[in-house]
Symmetry: C2
């Protein structure tokens, strides 16, 4: 792939836009004016309020468990608001809508009105504004967009335009993704600020005055994804010695009649600091954050001292000082530097991995708490399903909204940079699980109501089973005599998918809604899963059948009354051992000659003890040790060896850099890497539709390699844990695929599940890294996909949750599956990442999908389509089949969107409004722009009017005006702005169909609000 700046024409610079328009824009209108010929210091009061970390969300909000950390967000807001009301010059920014609205909704009408006044006057300003300050490594872009949507929407509904943030404020996430910057730009943000950057890069950038950049955050979206991005000078903390809060101990400004009067010293020290900062930035304006984690619990203390600081520092001006202090906001700082005749360097790649010293790479959290990371994906999956179901069923009412909001909010919380990251304390992780489970349960009420309306199962239970990944579903296990599986397809087009239902070891028949029998396989649940005896509800078998669903369809499962007839239908399934290798292929699907003609068949003979498992599309070879050694598919063959390893974790005292431990944040192998299972015990199960190799690598690592008939991918379902620690060594378990591909150090990783980034081993975009930590320093977040390619072959691994991954050697790919550690890494969490359940280490299960293809052509196109299928498969609702009635129901069908167009969002929005996001999920390397007509979708959603908005849905696209910052080569004359080039869609029912025709460029997302009925 090449790094090209594409689609630069979508947005253009509108030099004609009048300054006054922006000046008058809410938020900017109230910015304090600096003084000419001065260093204008924008003091930015803020409180960094983690939506869970050492304490749960509610513990932080209410200020419970202050023994862990003295933090109560309700008091911060109580007190800040009061302080703001005391003096119109004071400012404060708030970031996390999860906390803000929990607080706001508890306030009296009087307080609400006061807050509105503050917001209107720019005294209280929102930055970021999403439900939480999301992580940028482990999050999926769909959930980021969702959580910005709800945050900005709440702000919009409460405060109107003045509540809308202008800047991103990602001060704490541990590294920064390019996709996040792209999303900010698409939401209309003018810039973003953050604090964490690889320490070498940070040093370099401060030295070179490149700490503020124009981030070209997309290789394809051009200017519409450009975002001004600023690095804060000193974390997000107040200047050293100037934190005036319950949680710090710096000297207050003592200006009274006191022996301790320190005004002179305090002013001297502050001015000196400002002078230091200004040497590292281009402008005479500087942004000085005044706050820190959970600061402003004693807001009066903060503001009282800042008032004095401002007073006494500015009094120095009469003695010739050029330092001018005032309360401000990041947006006002941004406005000030935008208006200055300055130019800025650009940035193309991202800011991963984040490192804070020679030995400390924050790459452990990419994989920490793998079960939580997966559960979050389940949450997103179900959220999309219930949002769509609620829409299709036209459900309304407070309960409906609050049920859905519960899950929206929970998912917003989960995106927080100490939630999805796994960097929270154990009890907090448990609370996130509780929260998400409860929210899913809430949303389930909507799903049930919708399905009772949309199907003929009037009293259907529509049970969701959240532990299907380990074959747990009591409903199906005990009720499969008369079961109906209602499948909901969240994608924008009809799909085929193999459906698996946990059942008992009995004979079943599967029929569709017409009574037509479907072929099915009954496969045993692996012994290693069944052995998880602490989960008594694990089924012994899974029933597998191929379903085709446009949007919603029910299939019926019945225990066969006549076992014989079942026998006839039942896929022949047979266990093979190493000693008896009779092979059977049941080819229900017809091979497409073209698809199945293996270009290179280099199967080593069975005489050499190899085992072949194949179907019409895929051929796998295992060697005598039981390891996969070769894959043939998509017309190519590659010697791919798959193995499990673990790194022994470094276990230091963290007192010095070199003594850093591996922990929740940090991945630091101690140098020992061990293969798990030199000899693999395995069994092979061959059904008509699915073939499975059940591998056992050790007491605590097993796997199912699985290929489905007609599906061009190999599924590796791994089971890892409890990771043994009886040797007192923490371990980090990876799956590694090695091949002969000459990848020349290059590999590709996704950015939050969307665009891919090119990585080069041991290299960085801006600086020369010190690779003291050769393994962890090459780890990157893999949210969806990692790939390598050589001259002919390409391997992509798709995963089912965020993981850390790398290509440490040419031809190799690895993903970290699970971690169990015995030391804290000393970045605050204060616990070792040693997850346990049922008295032993947590067992994690998940899937990695391998796609081998020809590197030529557009292999990524197929990978992208698979990625969507993996991300949003059918959701299974289970009911008792006897509930079916003959009720006439409104049929919903798929929108039949073009193959490359992803129905990213469909949800109820404001009253009588629906939000739709359509995404061309293809890269410019994979496909062309798509033109299609929205009218069918519009009609299907009972549309009356449609308008196009920014990505978050809360601002009409036509109103979006963004600061354009000037690149270094340009000659600045006066401030310029970005504006959308394409004419935002704005149509009504009465308009001609042609007006609904839209173009989706590659990677473009367009967001529409449809007014209905």
């Amino acid at each position: 792939m090449q790094l090209l700046c594409g689609l630069a024409t979508i947005f253009v610079l509108l030099a004609v836009l009048r300054e006054q328009q922006v000046q008058a824009a809410c938020g900017y209108a109230n910015c304090p004016a600096g003084k000419a010929n001065m260093i204008n210091v924008h003091l930015v009061p803020h409180s960094h309020d983690d939506v869970g970390w050492l304490k749960t969300v509610d513990q932080y909000y209410y200020g419970a468990r202050n023994d862990i950390q003295h933090a109560g967000v309700q008091y911060i807001l109580d007190n800040v608001i009061r302080e703001l009301l005391r003096d119109a010059k004071r400012r404060f920014i708030f970031v996390e809508s999860a906390f803000f609205f929990k607080w706001y909704n508890e306030q009296t009408a009087e307080v609400k009105s006061q807050v509105k006044t503050l917001v209107k006057g720019g005294r209280l300003e929102f930055a970021g504004g999403a439900w939480s300050m999301n992580d940028e490594a482990a999050v999926h872009y769909q959930s980021v967009i969702d959580q910005f949507t709800i945050g900005l929407k709440a702000l919009q509904q409460t405060f109107g335009a003045c509540g809308r943030p202008h800047v991103g404020w990602q001060i704490d996430p541990f590294g920064h993704s390019r996709e996040m910057a792209s999303l900010f730009a698409q939401m209309g943000f003018d810039g973003q600020f953050f604090a964490r950057m690889d320490w070498i890069e940070k040093t370099e950038r401060l030295k070179n005055l490149t700490a503020e950049v124009i981030w070209k955050a997309s290789e394809v979206l051009g200017q519409s994804a450009e975002l001004f991005t600023g690095l804060l000078y000193r974390h997000y903390s107040a200047p050293p010695g100037f934190c005036f809060d319950a949680l710090c101990s710096d000297a207050p400004i003592i200006d009274g009649v006191s022996y301790d009067n320190n005004v002179k010293e305090r002013v001297d020290t502050f001015i000196k600091y400002i002078q230091e900062v200004t040497t590292h930035y281009r402008s005479t304006h500087v942004l000085i954050p005044m706050g820190d984690d959970f600061n402003y619990q004693i807001a009066a203390m903060n503001f009282k001292n800042m008032d004095k600081l401002i007073k006494y520092v500015n009094e120095r001006q009469s003695l010739g000082s050029k330092v001018n202090l005032f309360y401000s906001t990041p947006a006002c700082y941004l406005k000030a530097i935008h208006q200055a005749p300055l130019t800025w360097p650009s940035k193309a790649q991202d800011f991963f991995p984040y490192s804070t010293d020679w030995h400390t790479y924050w790459t452990g959290y990419y994989s920490s708490r793998p079960t939580q990371k997966r559960f979050e994906r389940d949450g997103n999956h179900f959220l999309q399903v219930t949002k769509q179901l609620t829409t299709f069923a036209n459900l309304t009412g407070n309960d409906v909204n609050s049920n859905l909001d519960a899950l929206r909010h929970a998912m917003g919380v989960m995106q927080h940079h100490d939630a999805i990251t796994g960097t929270e304390k154990q009890h907090v992780a448990a609370d996130y699980d509780r929260l998400l489970a409860a929210a899913i349960e809430s949303a389930q009420a909507n799903a049930r109501a919708a399905l009772q309306k949309l199907t003929n199962l009037t009293n259907g239970e529509f049970v969701s089973c959240l532990q299907l990944n380990i074959s747990v579903c009591e409903f199906t296990k005990n009720g499969a005599d008369q079961l109906v599986v209602t499948l909901f397809n969240p994608l924008g087009r009809p799909s085929y998918e193999y459906v698996r239902v946990p059942v008992n070891n009995e004979a079943y028949i599967v029929t569709d809604e017409t009574g037509r029998l479907l072929p099915s396989d009954l496969l045993p649940v692996p012994a290693e899963v069944q052995r998880l005896s602490f989960r008594p509800k694990i089924a012994s078998h899974e029933l597998v059948f191929l379903a085709y669903v446009e949007k919603l369809r029910s299939y019926y499962i019945k225990k066969s009354a006549n076992p014989r007839s079942v026998e006839e239908l039942k896929v022949e399934t047979q266990m093979r051992s190493m000693n008896s290798i009779p092979k059977r292929f049941s080819e229900m699907h017809k091979k497409s000659a073209e698809e199945n003609e293996l270009k290179s068949i280099a199967i080593d003979s069975e005489s050499r003890g190899e085992i072949i498992v194949k179907n019409s599309h895929v051929k796998l070879t295992l060697d005598s040790s039981g390891h996969l050694t070769k894959v043939e598919m998509n017309g190519v063959s590659e010697n791919i060896r798959q193995e499990f390893y673990y790194y022994n974790a470094a276990a230091g005292n963290n007192a010095e850099f070199k003594n850093r431990s591996s922990g929740a944040y940090i991945f630091r192998p101690n140098g020992t890497e061990l293969l798990i299972g030199r000899q693999v015990t395995f069994s092979i199960y061959e059904g008509t539709q699915v073939k499975e190799v059940h591998q056992r690598f050790s007491d605590w690592v097993s796997q199912v390699i699985r290929i489905y008939e007609g599906v061009n991918r190999v599924e590796f379902e791994w089971l890892v844990g409890p990771i043994p620690i009886n040797d007192n060594i923490g371990k980090e378990v990876i799956t590694r695929f090695t091949s002969n591909i000459k990848s020349a150090g290059v590999f590709y990783t996704d950015s939050n599940g969307r665009e891919m980034l090119k990585r080069k081993r041991n290299q960085r975009e801006y600086f020369k890294p010190n690779m003291t930590e050769a393994v962890s320093g090459n780890y990157y977040p893999i949210t969806a996909r990692i790939a390598i390619e050589g001259e002919s072959n390409r391997i992509a691994l798709l995963n089912d949750r965020a993981q850390g991954g790398s290509s440490l050697k040419d031809g190799a790919l690895e993903l970290m599956l699970h971690r169990r550690l015995l030391r804290d890494d000393a970045f605050g969490v204060g616990e070792a990442l040693n997850e346990t359940a049922y008295g032993e280490g947590v067992v994690a299960r998940g899937k990695v999908y391998l796609i081998l293809s020809n590197a030529e052509g557009t292999p990524s196109r197929y990978e992208r389509l698979e990625q969507l299928q993996i991300h949003l498969p059918f959701w299974k609702f289970f009911s008792n089949a006897t509930k079916a009635t003959n009720k006439k129901v409104r049929q919903i069908s798929s929108f039949n969107l073009p193959q490359t167009v992803h129905l990213l969002t469909l949800e109820p929005f404001n009253a009588n409004e629906r939000l739709v996001r359509l995404e061309n999920f293809m890269d410019k390397y994979d496909a062309n722009p798509v033109t299609f007509n929205l009218r069918p979708l519009f009609d299907q959603l009972s549309g009356e009017e449609i308008r196009e908005t920014t990505l978050d849905g809360n601002l009409n696209l036509s109103e979006m005006i963004r600061f354009k910052f000037q690149p270094e080569s340009s000659n600045v004359t006066k401030p310029e702005y970005y504006k959308t080039l394409h004419s935002p869609l704005l149509a009504k029912k009465k308009d001609s169909v042609s007006k609904f025709s839209i173009v989706l460029h590659q990677m473009q997302i367009r967001t529409f609000v449809i007014k209905w009925r």
Copy 2:
């Protein structure tokens, strides 16, 4: 002595007083009404704000050094006031005027007005109200009265009657003196509350429902010194689990939609606690403090949660709960129980010593930091001097007031229960010293101005030397060629006193203002003092002469031009060694036959190696080891042996009671008691007026035993330190006097320098103590005097600062002089009491005065007179003699008060007002009531009007109405009140002289405000 309740007739019960009068009284008028048939819970929000402890006063006020303790009183007041303004139901009490007025004076007019509204409405109420919450063991009553005077005056001036506290709030002092209760009663307080009591007594009292008592706080003052006194149930803290503050971590009330909603549990827990408390008190009203040390920094957090607590607990009433919560104050609680038909037990003795477990007696602080304890006395001494001088010179103006206030305030601070007690951190002790020294320097400006006006030394320097106790005074040492010593006598009558001036080893002549030559002695400063080489300014000699001063008089010292003539005048002084014992007696003063006839002369013959040192009044015998063994004076003889010992200090880890260490608070000897100096090296210096035995007991303990001609006491000037710790053992040094007096376990100790209390070894008034700690458990605070007596003889020791002392064996008395410890005692201070200066342990010097007398008659009368002389001797101001002019100055003369009447206070009060306190310093055992006429004093002070007030000077005595609580024997009908019986003096200049005639009963203090000019 007998314990009798005397003078009961001064005050009478005025049953006729109408309830409405009190109801309408400011403060009580706004009390919340309880509910009938309920347990009415008075929640009392308060913050205990130490005026220095772990941090200095200003560090606490400004919130500096929050690394030591997160405490900033300015924020507490900022935030509490704002919270009070938010809801009229909320209440708060504030205690320490030092902090309050520092804050109040910084406020805007608007805030001041708001505060006034709060005070007027009873929402902000003052309790205590003195400058600080004074200690009760080591303080002198004069300073307690002074610091209440300034606190209550500031409240009066700022808030009028509503600002006046009704209750004492002595929640933290480590034991409670009877005199303090007496002073409260005399100031018109209705009651007091405290939290600390011997743990056994506390247990007993709670069990027996005697935790609230009528304290009969004087043996002579009767009802005018009765005070209701209540013990708080659980320290002064909020109920366990109900502290909602920056400094605690209890669960907030979570009443929102939250998984953590805990309203039911919180209410259950609180109600259970209340039910527990009520079983230990007599009333259905209970006082529940809601606060703790430096709480309410996040006042919004406190009040928000208390609001919810009140709401939800009271909501339970609808379910039958009988618990009724509301915000209240201690005064309102007091009012409620006063109105209830209840009777109360009485209490006669005090609450010393305070013990918190079997091994933990808080008797160390009686002696901790002996140099600070002495410096505080110097401060008081100089404060009285400058107050009088400022008055006599009619100085006015802001500077004059603020100079005086500086010292008043500093002395108020010094009374704080972590200041005078020596229980603060070392850097805080240093700051107290700094503060007091600076304040003395301020007041010195007044003194100088006054003296320049009142003497003919127009340009006199009037230097005060603060280190005369170790013969340091640069001014006299270098300038004694032409020196004038201006002596100010703060007593109310003329006095004789021997004056000592540090000089060089040269010949001097002393003359009075008329040029009359006075006899003088030149004595060497002890070698051990001179050896304190780190103080280079120590003089080699001291010039001693007898001065007679009515109020103010100057003496002139000149180096003799003709050494011969000096030689003639000079007292023959000769050093005697053990080997050459020629004796000389120079008897300048005529003996009074009566006084000097020794009744029992049982001098062991000199053949036994004894040494006799005597003058016309006193005869001392030393044995061959150099120890004092016998004293003869006042017609009696007693074998008194004086020795120094030290206790080795217990050094535990404090983890368990039995591992308690001796520390700043705790005195815990480890069982080893060691004699210092079995053989004493000594020298004897015999002047015409003074005879001194310079004893050296060890490298670090020496002493001067001194008798002055005509003075009936023996002075022991001890020098202790640096206490060696090279054996890693802390040491506590005592001086011990043993005799043959059969004291039968009984000894007498003063209470804050005023009335005496009878102590019985190993006994307590109310309970049977466990005497596991036989030494420290018998220690009592000795502020001025300790005495034993047998059938014939009585020994009293008078000291010059607060010390711990005891009579551990019959006939023995001991005082603890100095302590040096190596462990903290784990009560918060966090440092070992290991004072150092100049790189080694601190050296302390001080005086103990012994008076031996016949136990029959009124020996105490003489002791009391001596006590005043010792407490308030002449203050010496030094000037260069050449500054004398012939200016005519207004002569001030003594008031010539009756011998037993003490001029306790004379100071400028409000504008054109002077405050005078007169005290009959005699006990009823020592003298009779005194009747005398105030008119001369009134005229001397240019009086226009005179009115009598409560002890603090801020309430006209005629307006004082105090709650009278009913003793257990009484039949209660309705609430009763105390009122003064004697007609308060109220007179004008034009009134007849006879109207100014007053009676002072024994121990009575009468306070007058005189309007002048």
